[in-house]
């Protein structure tokens, strides 16, 4: 098991490094930030001086070498837009997104397990058909559109919820609801699919024949065996929630890492782009290791190999 985890961690580390290299060169290709930062009438000398001071005139490889050297000393660069260490800005925005993602995923997994299990209990029944169509609609809904319709309905028309910003718990409802929809829909589908398979298996028939209570059959025997695919999909969705966070944070004006990332891409604030990418990638990397551990703990086949 230790060897298995070690190999997985090594693979993750290699992709992490590859990603950083990719983002460094991609960000440099987006164009020279000099023209964006200085006023239009700035003199040629002023532009030259600005570019030299921030090292934009050096060859790309020199810039890259400097970046790697700084990284090794845990120096993630200074944001030229905000005039402070880029990692500070990233770390400041990170908890907001993390909280949003954690609440959303907890709710999505919990709800999906209950709804999926109940739907699988009588495939083709009324509850199953309703749950199936609703969860498919959830998995199909474009999140930005759901957010817009939500604002239209609950903020503009009914005036129950604020349109954007943070502060009270009311501000949390719409972003979480919008983020929740897709993972919930996909997870219900997965839980339902694996549960239908599990409920018609031999060990469930055995349990029934022994007289085990139905509730115990659903939630102990069948559900426990369906956890592995659920963990896989939930892990994918937890990483993909960063995608949704970009959209949701932009629409609802949340100061999270998604909004910070988009803003800094638009403003060519390389240091922040790199810091946010690094932070997100490390978070996803750590989560994948937790998932691998969960796999090894839950699946005896992996544990004993």
């Amino acid at each position: 098991m230790g060897q298995y985890l070690g190999r997985r961690a090594l693979h993750g580390l290699v992709s992490l490094i590859g990603l950083l290299v990719l983002v460094f060169f991609l960000a440099r290709l987006t164009g020279d930030p000099t023209n964006l930062f200085l006023p239009l009438d700035a003199s040629l000398e002023a532009r030259q001086e600005f570019a030299e001071r921030h090292g934009f005139t050096d060859p790309l490889l020199t810039q890259f070498g400097r970046y790697v050297g700084d990284l090794a000393r845990l120096d993630f660069g200074i944001s030229i837009r905000q005039q402070r260490p880029a990692m500070d800005a990233a770390l400041e925005a990170f908890p907001t997104t993390l909280k949003l993602a954690a609440v959303t995923m907890t709710l999505a997994i919990g709800l999906a397990l209950v709804v999926g299990a109940l739907a699988a209990y009588r495939p083709g029944g009324l509850f199953d058909r309703t749950a199936n169509v609703i969860s498919l609609a959830g998995a199909s809904a474009p999140d930005f559109w759901v957010a817009i319709v939500g604002i239209l309905l609950f903020a503009v028309t009914l005036r129950w919820l604020p349109t954007s910003g943070t502060g009270t718990w009311l501000h949390w409802i719409m972003p979480i609801a919008v983020l929740l929809i897709r993972p919930f829909g996909l997870l219900v589908q997965v839980v339902r699919g694996t549960m239908i398979g599990a409920l018609s298996s031999a060990y469930v028939k055995t349990a029934r024949a022994k007289g085990v209570k139905e509730r115990a059959i659903i939630f102990v025997h069948a559900l426990r065996n369906s956890t592995l695919p659920v963990i896989t999909v939930a892990g994918d969705q937890a990483a993909a929630i960063v995608n949704g966070a970009v959209i949701v944070e932009t629409i609802f004006g949340w100061p999270g890492i998604g909004k910070l990332m988009i803003d800094s891409i638009i403003q060519r604030d390389f240091a922040i782009v790199q810091a946010t990418v690094l932070l997100t990638a490390v978070a996803i990397f750590s989560m994948n290791i937790v998932i691998d551990v969960a796999y090894a703990v839950l699946d005896p086949r992996i544990r004993h190999n």
């Binding site: 693979h11 993750g12 290699v14 992709s15 992490l16 590859g18 990603l19 990719l22 983002v23 991609l26 960000a27 290709l29 987006t30 495939p123 083709g124 199936n132 169509v133 498919l136 609609a137 998995a139 199909s140 809904a141 474009p142 999140d143 930005f144 559109w145 817009i148 319709v149 604002i151 239209l152 503009v156 589908q189 239908i196 018609s200 990483a239 993909a240 960063v242 995608n243 970009v246 959209i247 932009t250 990332m261 988009i262 891409i265 638009i266 782009v273 990418v277 997100t280 990638a281 996803i284 990397f285 994948n288």
Partner: protein, 307 residues
């Protein structure tokens, strides 16, 4: 991964089609979804040719005309946008870009991913390892952010959006193909072919690809909806399709500015995106049940027996 395997007995083509339609009738939701998709495909093919002028005709007197009445003409049943253009006509014309970009991106991803997967699975240890690590890099980061970065480097537009979307989807096809190839190359008929002197290329073309292809096509059908949503999100964020070209996602983005005064600008295109992805998902769900011998009976029971 449900491999689309050959049926145990061959039926004449016509009977197979009839059987498929009967199975489709067994799931009313899937039946409606199939009809809807046929209409969307028809519009994607012929819409711009039929209604191209109507979708771009400005009429400033009809700016933000509300939906629900045909007094202004049937084309304004869904209202008009900020420049007085018919929303219905624009929805129909935009279906070509929306569906076309998704289809092209999926096809490109399938081709590249499939080819790389064949190489990774067949060409030995080192090329395989390198390809898989590259795929890991793509998989390890949220696809939308990667696409955002790339589209800020290269000019956004139909072609680049297509390529970027394809790149973010390649790992899926690559991994599936490689996994299948690794399994197939150990099978008896491959060993037999090699023993009879078949070269690598012949084995791949004659024995591996025919088995891998159906699986890839199944994945592509499911992936299509995802790619469509991704394109819409990019266009919504303003780095996707640029005017004068437009897609449903770009229409939602435009309508967002008029949310308080004219909700229909953003509402209809979003509904079009959602109903199309929903139809695709319903249909692929049906296909999964219909190709699974242990579940197929659910579609064969008629309503009367079902109660």
């Amino acid at each position: 991964m449900p491999a689309a395997s050959e049926p145990a007995y061959k039926e004449p083509g016509e009977r197979q089609v009839r059987r498929a339609i009967l199975l489709l009738w067994g799931d009313r939701f899937a039946f409606v979804a199939a009809l809807y998709l046929l209409i969307v495909i028809f519009f994607a093919l012929f819409g711009p040719w039929l209604l191209g002028d109507m979708a771009t005709a400005l009429n400033l007197r009809l700016r933000n005309a509300p939906p629900g009445s045909i007094d202004l003409g049937w084309e304004f049943i869904l209202g008009a946008d900020a420049l007085g253009r018919s929303i219905l006509a624009r929805l129909i014309v935009a279906s070509r870009n929306t569906m076309g970009i998704a289809a092209a991106a999926v096809a490109l991803a399938m081709l590249c991913g499939g080819t790389l997967g064949l190489i990774a699975g067949y060409a030995g240890k080192w090329p395989g390892t390198i390809i898989m690590r590259l795929a890991d890099i793509l998989m390890s980061f949220p696809s939308l952010l990667l696409a955002l970065l790339v589209l800020f480097v290269f000019e956004p537009g139909v072609k680049n959006v297509m390529i970027v979307l394809a790149i973010t989807r390649i790992p899926i096809y690559l991994r599936t193909t490689r996994a299948e190839v690794l399994e197939i190359r150990e099978r008896m008929f491959v060993t037999a072919a090699r023993a009879m002197g078949a070269g690598s290329i012949r084995i791949v073309v004659r024995h591996v690809i025919p088995i891998v292809a159906p699986t890839l096509i199944t994945i592509a059908a499911i992936d299509f909806a995802f790619v469509m949503l991704a394109e819409s999100a990019l266009s919504f964020l303003g780095v996707g399709i640029q005017p004068p070209e437009f897609t449903w996602g770009a229409m939602v983005a435009l309508g967002r500015n008029y949310l308080g005064s004219a909700w229909w600008l953003a509402f209809w295109p979003g509904l079009a995106i959602m109903s199309t992805t929903l139809a695709l998902n319903l249909l692929s769900n049906w296909a999964r049940t219909a190709t699974d011998p242990t579940q197929r009976w659910r579609l064969e029971v008629t309503d009367k027996q079902n109660g």
